[in-house]
Each structure stands twice: as C-alpha cells, then as structure tokens.
Symmetry: C2
Subunit: 125 residues, 2 copies
DNA sequence: TTGTTACATAACTATGTGGTTATGAATTTA
DNA sequence: TAAATTCATAACCACATAGTTATGTAACAA
C-alpha cells in the first residue's frame, strides 16, 4: 500500500558513502562484519550501525556461520528505487529538451524587448 | 574528482517523500513555490527548505518571473544516481541468483546433517 | 573452565533534519 | 505612495543520525 516508506529507507540508506561502499563490497560476495569493517577508518560498532540501517531498509540480510554474521545483498529494494528513478528520468529528459527549446525562445524574445513582459494575472479568488 | 558528495546529496534529497513528490510535480513542467506548496499540508517555509535541499543537490534550478521563482528540473544528478543504481543492480541480480543456488545447496546439506558444519579457519596471522 | 573471537548493545555527544512561527525583502497592483 | 503577493530567512524546537567508548553475549578453542 505504501511503498513510500520503503523508498524513503532505501534512498536514505544509499545517501551515506560508507553504506554505498559496503554495498559495493557485498556485490562481490558475502562478507562478515569484521571483513566489512576492515577497509574503513571507523570502529566496529559504527559498521554494525550501518549494517542495521541497511538491514532495516531490506538491502541486506544476515545469516549465521558460527560467531560470524555473514551479510548478503537483497536486490528487491534496489529494483524499486531503480524503477522510480528510471520512470522519472525519462520524463525528465524529455521535459528537459522541451524546456531547452522553451528557454531559447524566451531568450530570443527577451533580446528583442529588453526585459519587458506583460503582467500575467494568475487565478485568484 | 569526488562525485561521492554529489551522490550523497542526490540520494539524501530523494529520501524524503515530500521532495520526491515535488520532483514528480516538476516532471510535469515548471512551477512556482506556492504552486508546489499547495498540495501539501505544510507551511510555505517548509517547502522553501525542501526546494533549497533539491537545489543544493542540483536536482532543480530556479529562475525569475516577477515575484515568482519558477523551479525546473535538472536531469544530470538523476542520471548519475541512476547509473550508480543500474551498475550495481546488475551485479546484484546475478549475485542474487548465485546466492539463490548456493542457499538451496546449503539448505539441502543442512537437512542431511541437521546443523553441523566443519570449522572454517579464516585467514589469521 | 578459561579465554578468544565476532558481534551487538547501551550510553553518550555532536551535528543534521524537518517542521514551526515571525519577519523581512522584492516586485507588482491600486 | 500604500498595499498585496511571492518568496526567503532567522530563530527555535523535537528528533534522527553518525560517530565514539565501554560493556555484554554467543560460539568456538584450549
């Protein structure tokens, strides 16, 4: 019903460079927490927090292997975010072209009249 | 040099449903601040703040039309975010398939041995 | 049992975010 | 000129976030 919250969490999770790096690392395969924490100049609890954010966003899931908690990627939320972006990107780019044309026309009109436009009364009660 | 910051700002901007709605509205064409604020149960300064976030992220730009500040979309940051997602989504899905197979194998193995796995000595100095 | 490894959690701090109301500035309209 | 419209900004609040250190817990190893 409300995929809005999912998108919120997904984009918020992606907004942090550490978390994006973790995801990039996990794209190469499963990894434990300490393995994930190693390349970062950051404490282990900080990484655990990031992993919890990613887990709550549904971007990763965690298993059990003795003491280790191997993290693995989950594709579904990414697909949703990708769909959102993709859908609007198309609108964007076409719209962008339209505006480009519109801007050129407006600039041409302004060069003729040297900034003077008729008042546009917007709808008012 | 550091597109990381741009991605940070782009994803953070997309993490808010109000801002996503604003972008969706702008995909239909330019709009003024009050026009953008109208559908939301929120004060005008709140919308102005959201617009500033979107502007700092480079997702929109603003013009001048008398007192109005028409907002228009900018496609470039979206394209960058889209590229990031798209690149990793492919890795993800293939990886996901691999893990799917791997999981099935592990589950089958576990059903036979009823949870008992040989110790895996990880690399240690 | 004792220790070690791998990880989580609690408590705390600093900063960021999303909202508010109040006010000010720029521009058009009367 | 005065008034109305459009928008931004300042000051403030509540809460979230990103990090820290310290400590606890679960599983393996001696």
């Amino acid at each position: 019903m409300t995929p809005t919250t999912h998108l919120d969490a997904t984009f918020a999770a992606l907004a942090d460079p550490t978390r994006r790096a973790i995801l990039a690392r996990l794209a190469l395969g499963e990894a434990s927490v300490t393995e994930l924490a190693e390349p970062f100049a950051m404490s282990q609890p900080a990484i655990s927090k990031h992993l919890k954010v990613l887990e709550l966003a549904g971007l990763i899931s965690r298993g059990r292997d003795a003491q280790r908690r191997p993290c693995r990627l989950e594709a579904a939320p990414l697909a949703a975010a990708n769909e959102w972006l993709e859908a609007y990107r198309q609108l964007w780019e076409t719209r962008f072209e339209n505006l480009d044309v519109l801007l050129q026309e407006m600039q041409a009109a302004e060069q003729q009249s040297t900034r003077r436009k008729p008042p546009k009364p917007r709808k008012k009660p």
